[in-house]
Amino acid sequence: MDFLIAAIITIVGISTPILLAGLGELVVEKSGVLNLGVEGMMLVGAIAGFAATVLTGNPWLGVIGAAIAGALAASLFGFFVLTLNSNQVATGLALTIFGTGLSSLIGLSFVGRIVPQFGSVFPPELARDPLLKVVFGYSPVVYFALIMVFAVGWFLKSTRAGLILRAVGENDLSAHSIGYSVIGVRYAAVAFGGAMAGIGGAYFSMVITPMWAERMTAGRGWIALALVVFAGWRAGRLLVGAIFFGVLMWMELNAKAGGLSFLSFAQYIPSQFWAAMPYLMTVVVLTLISMRDRVGLNAPACLGKPFLPAT
């Protein structure tokens, strides 16, 4: 039982950052933009959240700082891609390289410093019982991520603004001709994606290990990108997928530590198998999605294509 509780708490911790970044990227991609800079924005958020916490002493301000920094990094991407119409794939990759370098440089003066962990906000008595800990034992960021799953799902499905956003991603020229600002909608989506990735990154530097280390997000930005595809561009499935990927990464951690003795077959499977699984399964899911008819397909039709209205 204790083992199970520890496992659940670890998996929630692994899943939260990719869920946050994935939700952001979902909205970005639904608007027709492919931002491959998630990893870079997460790192910028990680250092900004940490630095803001150190400077203000307030972790809530830290999270807000991470969101703003992520949104700023994303807006830089937006400026090149949306205003100057540069290639989205290359610009996104550049953003990742840029964010990695910038976070290392800014982080230089924060190496070796510690902040108090941004842990549970509930009174400790509530989380003392192991069963209640599964419910009440997390950082506020975890609950925020859960709320955002429903918020993003509701926004995309049931609001007028969400409908416009999807229309822009599905057929930018039509949306433009009805009079919606394609570029404006995409700017907003890209900034939101950056803010969410920033908070996801801050989860590493403020909750998982409350310190700064270079490249501390360790490639989770790429997993978040995979997650959006794996979830078939749906918010609800994104939550399921994040937990599923969390389980796979938890299996990897255990296999590395030689701790999978409870599963007799698992001892023969190397940890690298579990680490590769999210990516392999994403390719499989992507293939299945692509094989299906265009009807019911959730991938935005304009994904990655520049908006070029006839002038």
Binding site: L34, L36, L76, F80, L84, N85, S86, N87, V89, A90, T91, L93, A94, L95, T96, I97, F98, T100, G101, L102, S104, L105, I106, G107, L108, E214, R215, G219, W222, L225, A226, V229, P270, Q272, F273, A275, A276, Y279, L280, T282, V283, L286, T287, S290, M291, A299, L303, G304
Partner: protein, 364 residues
């Protein structure tokens, strides 16, 4: 005064040459300002990153060895980018190419000589192409987006490497360190200038751009790639098969990345450990754009990016900034070159302000 963009009939040849140079200069300028704002000696950092590797002759061999894989990968990627085939999994193809070469080395045991060397290089190319053939097959058979699939497979390749060097291929005499056994001396690529680290791969990286140049400008294949990329509908009418182009672009891109991996392994590192993947496959995307997708451009851009890598290490010791800082400059160069595309495709007109015009034109 107003600024107006006019679409050019044809991309400006002059701008295609001027904009990459301007991007590098602008990066250096912005770098000085940004670093000064961060409280770091910006002038010193920029000089160390961009100029010291060129001015200090003992750094030239480092630049040459680092430039070789970047140039070779970028050549292959440029073909795909021209045809609008987006292979961003070159890093994975590079890793698999190196692993295939390492596999040949391990299978050869103590045998060495030119045959083993050639086999290693060919195995690298085949391995890289094979890895790239998965996104190619998925794209042509099922319409799977090759950007996403090739990216995902890069991370699978990383795990394949981690598994092999930590398990079946681990050096038995390596104190349990996850790395392959180093190559025998007569299995490694010959050194071109004794006393340096400049190996045969550097010569290949210098010759290949000219081969690609001829291929792209003089052959039907080159014509096909250019037409499919710039006018897909015309290409279809002209009988060029889109699927065939995807296959060619992916196989060449993968093959070149695999070749680069094999050369890096057999010429430079001689053993594969967990630190082998260094992001060359991603940086090569910057190289191909900075080189304006032109083979000779890739040659020059590869050297520029290699300079920033070597210079980053110099700046690490002189102004004490992390190694990753070179990435800020690399990314800025790419940002500027992508943004400056607008000058290649459009003519910028400065129109005097409309003060003199009293009556607005009808319809406005």
């Amino acid at each position: 005064m107003r600024i107006k963009l006019e679409k050019r009939q044809e991309p400006s040849k002059l701008m295609q040459v001027v904009t990459p140079i301007a991007s590098v200069l602008l990066t250096m300028l912005v770098g000085v300002v940004v670093f000064d704002l961060l409280g770091i000696d910006g002038q010193r950092a920029v000089i160390d990153i961009f100029l010291t590797p060129l001015l200090a002759s003992y750094k030239w061999q480092d630049v040459a060895v680092k430039a070789a894989p970047l140039i070779i990968i970028a050549l292959g990627l440029s073909i795909g980018n021209r045809a609008n085939v987006w292979n961003i999994g070159a890093e994975g193809q590079y890793i698999i190419g190196a692993l295939c070469a390492a596999g040949v080395g391990i299978a050869a045991g103590t045998a060495g000589g030119p045959i083993i060397m050639v086999t290693m290089i060919l195995a690298g190319m085949v391995g890289g192409s094979a890895w790239a053939s998965v996104p190619a097959a998925l794209r042509t058979r099922f319409g799977v987006n090759e950007i996403l699939s090739s990216l995902m497979l890069t991370y699978v390749a990383l795990q394949v490497l981690s598994y092999l060097v930590g398990g079946p291929w681990k050096d038995p005499n390596g104190r349990n360190f996850p790395a392959t056994a180093p190559l025998q001396p007569d299995q490694t690529l010959p050194i071109l200038f004794s006393g340096t680290t400049v190996h045969l791969g550097v010569a290949i990286a210098v010759v290949l751009p000219f081969v690609f140049w001829l291929l792209m400008s003089r052959s039907v294949f080159g014509y096909q790639i250019r037409v499919v990329g710039s006018a897909p509908n015309a290409a279809r009418h002209g009988g060029f098969d889109g699927n065939q182009t995807v296959w060619l672009a992916m196989l060449i891109g993968g093959g070149m990345a695999g070749l680069a991996g094999a050369l890096e392994f057999a010429g430079s590192l001689k053993a594969i450990n967990l630190g082998f993947p260094s992001g060359y496959g991603f940086t090569a995307i910057i190289v191909s754009f900075l080189g304006r997708l032109h083979p000779i451009g890739c040659l020059i851009a590869g050297i520029v990016l290699a300079v920033t890598y070597v210079g980053g290490q110099v700046a690490q010791t002189t102004v004490h900034i992390p190694n990753a800082t070179a990435g800020i400059f690399q990314a800025m160069m790419l940002f500027f070159i992508l943004a400056s595309d607008i000058f290649v495709r459009y003519r910028v007109r400065f129109i005097p302000s409309a003060k003199a015009v009293v009556q607005p034109a009808p319809g406005e």
